[in-house]
């Protein structure tokens, strides 16, 4: 897993509640990503970060925000969860020469 952990691994929440997912890496890589994975779709980029406090939007960023106050942590927040945000969320890091490695995922269910 290239030193990537995600927490929680599973979460069930209700519509309208805020949710924060955490990605932690141990190797001080600069680039970090949040994706969601849904049936019938390839992994889709939500947000990415290219350094501390440097983030940018991906293709499906609506309803999500991110923060990166330390190199090792990249947080994904759903300000007010909706059922359409039920998904599996993967964090990834990109190392030199563009190799990208993924964490184990967080399965989020919004009721």
């Amino acid at each position: 897993d290239a030193g990537i952990t995600q927490s929680p691994r599973h979460k069930v929440t209700e519509t309208g509640t805020p949710v924060t997912l955490r990605c932690h890496q141990t190797e001080n890589h600069r680039y970090m990503y949040w994706y969601r994975q849904d049936p019938g779709h390839g992994l889709r980029l939500i947000h990415y970060s290219y350094g501390v406090k440097d983030t940018d939007k991906g293709e499906v960023s609506d309803g999500y925000s991110v923060s990166r106050s330390k190199t090792e942590d990249f947080l994904l927040t759903l300000e007010s969860a909706t059922s359409s945000q039920t998904s599996v969320y993967f964090c990834a890091i990109s190392v030199q020469d563009n190799e990208q490695f993924f964490g184990p995922g967080t399965r989020l269910t919004v009721l």
Binding site: H41, G42, Y50, F90, S94, N98, Q100, F101, F102, P104
Partner: protein
């Protein structure tokens, strides 16, 4: 826009046979390609990669072929084993960006 597609959603092969999984991409600015294996309930696992200045790269039992003329990528698995059963998908890196475009995946089933 950019897209990455796989030719078959499911591929069934006999144990011991070779498997070929295909991927097509649309963006000519793609400079780096990765194949991932994903088992149920797990994160994608990096298998092998190839850069756009190459047309073939071999790993342990796996080979990736890149045809830039037709924008086609394939993963070959030799002597397929039960442990190879998983979903395989390709990722395409867009040159000059931090972005990757992912295919939807082919589920490989290995028959005993």
């Amino acid at each position: 826009g950019e897209s990455v597609g796989l030719h078959l959603p499911t591929l069934s092969v006999q144990e011991g046979d070779n498997s070929i999984i295909n991927c097509a991409y649309s963006n000519s600015a793609s400079d780096y390609f990765i194949w991932y294996k994903q088992e149920s309930g797990k994160g994608p696992q990096f298998i092998i990669d190839i850069r756009s200045n190459m047309d073939k790269r071999q790993g342990q039992r796996v080979t990736v072929l890149l045809n830039k003329t037709v924008k086609h990528l394939s993963l070959q698995i030799a002597a397929t084993q039960p442990g190879d059963s998983a979903v395989y998908f390709c990722a395409v890196h867009l040159s000059g960006t931090y972005k990757y475009i992912f295919g939807t995946g082919t589920r490989l089933k290995v028959l005993a």
